[in-house]
């Protein structure tokens, strides 16, 4: 149960930087009324944000990630159930991992 001052400082700085992004983006948009172009872009943000997260991860991944993602998408599209999709995809990834 030790607390190193440098580690504490790093954690505090990380926490501050992270909350700045969480609250700062929203706060900025409330103070500075965004032009219509920016508001139209916000409608596309949810999808493109997750695409930008997933595609590079899959591009640098291997058969395990590709099989897992394919099964996740298939199960999610068929059942619309998050739990089934995550379990199915992870099971597929584990199957590839065990076989290799």
């Amino acid at each position: 149960m030790t607390l190193d001052p440098w580690v504490l400082a790093a954690i505090g700085a990380m926490a501050l930087a992270t909350y700045l992004t969480r609250a700062g983006g929203y706060w900025l948009f409330r103070v500075v009324k965004p032009p219509p172009v920016v508001r139209a872009m916000l409608g596309y943000i949810p999808g493109t944000l997750f695409v930008s997260y997933v595609v590079p991860a899959l591009a640098s991944g291997g058969v395990q990630q590709w099989a897992g993602a394919a099964v996740t998408i298939a199960v999610m599209a068929a059942t619309r159930n998050l739990a089934f999709a995550i379990l199915g995809g992870t099971a597929a990834a584990a199957a590839v991992w065990a076989a290799s």
């Binding site: 139209a40 999808g47 997750f50 930008s52 997260y53 998408i73 998050l82 995550i86």
Partner: protein, 239 residues
């Protein structure tokens, strides 16, 4: 008219917690991995738990921990957290129709517990015409508890588990994002922005390894492509 709609009801807080249960289960391996990595980098149980409680951002914590040292790299860790989490600055404004109706601690705590997963579920609720920000708060607070407890458990497991980098445990975190992506598909109009986002993100990730600019870069490029296309199709409209 919107005044008659609940802003922050107990029912919505509970509904958010309940609806997010599948996601919470998928957060557990992610939290365990974070605790295991923190233990491997020499953080004490108290330090690892404190980090998850105050920072509460898995990918940022993992990136910062992968470049840890002694003494702890204060500026580098803060900068990494800021860049990885810039996407959160884009996410908050999307929920403005909900958040604008909140005041005081409800607003600032709701923003604190806003993470990718419960934000995505809240966007779905908002698009379905529900108006109660309690959903974001309830799902977020529960995820915060799961995240902090999971990190502590991972730290304790630490030396005992030592999963290899290719362990399928790590895939479950990605599976959450892939599954959420399916729910965000709205039709053919998404093809162009998504393709641009994926291409830009993949290119940036390759050009700037070890950073996370690619998430924000891909999202902005893809969204801009979608808006430009819409404007060309109907130049009379402002958006």
């Amino acid at each position: 008219m919107s005044l008659a709609r609940p802003r922050f009801s107990r029912a919505a807080v509970l509904a958010g917690a309940r609806a997010s249960l599948p996601v919470q289960v998928a957060v557990i391996p992610f939290a365990l991995v974070c605790g295991i990595v923190a233990q491997g980098q020499g953080l004490s149980l108290a330090e690892a738990t404190l980090m998850s409680g105050l920072v509460y951002a898995g990918s940022a914590q993992l990136l910062a921990l992968s470049h840890w040292g002694n003494p702890a790299p204060v500026l580098a860790a803060a900068f990494a957290s800021f860049v990885v989490n810039l996407r959160l600055a884009l996410m908050g404004p999307v929920l403005a129709p909900w958040l604008d109706r909140l005041r005081g601690w409800r607003l600032w705590v709701s923003l604190f517990v806003m993470a990718d997963q419960n934000w995505a579920m809240s966007v779905g609720q908002m698009q379905a015409g529900r108006w109660d920000a309690g959903f974001l708060f309830g799902s977020g607070v529960l995820m915060w508890f799961v995240w902090v407890a999971g990190t502590a458990a991972g730290h304790l497991l630490g030396a005992a588990m030592q999963p290899s980098p290719g362990h399928p445990l790590f895939f479950s975190a990605l599976a959450v994002f892939v599954a959420i992506l399916v729910t965000m598909w709205r039709g053919a109009a998404d093809v162009l922005p998504w393709a641009v986002a994926g291409a830009v993100a993949a290119g940036m990730a390759r050009l700037m390894p070890g950073t996370s600019w690619y998430i924000v870069g891909g999202a902005l490029a893809g969204s801009a492509a979608g808006v430009l296309r819409d404007r060309r199709r109907s130049p009379g409209q402002t958006a």
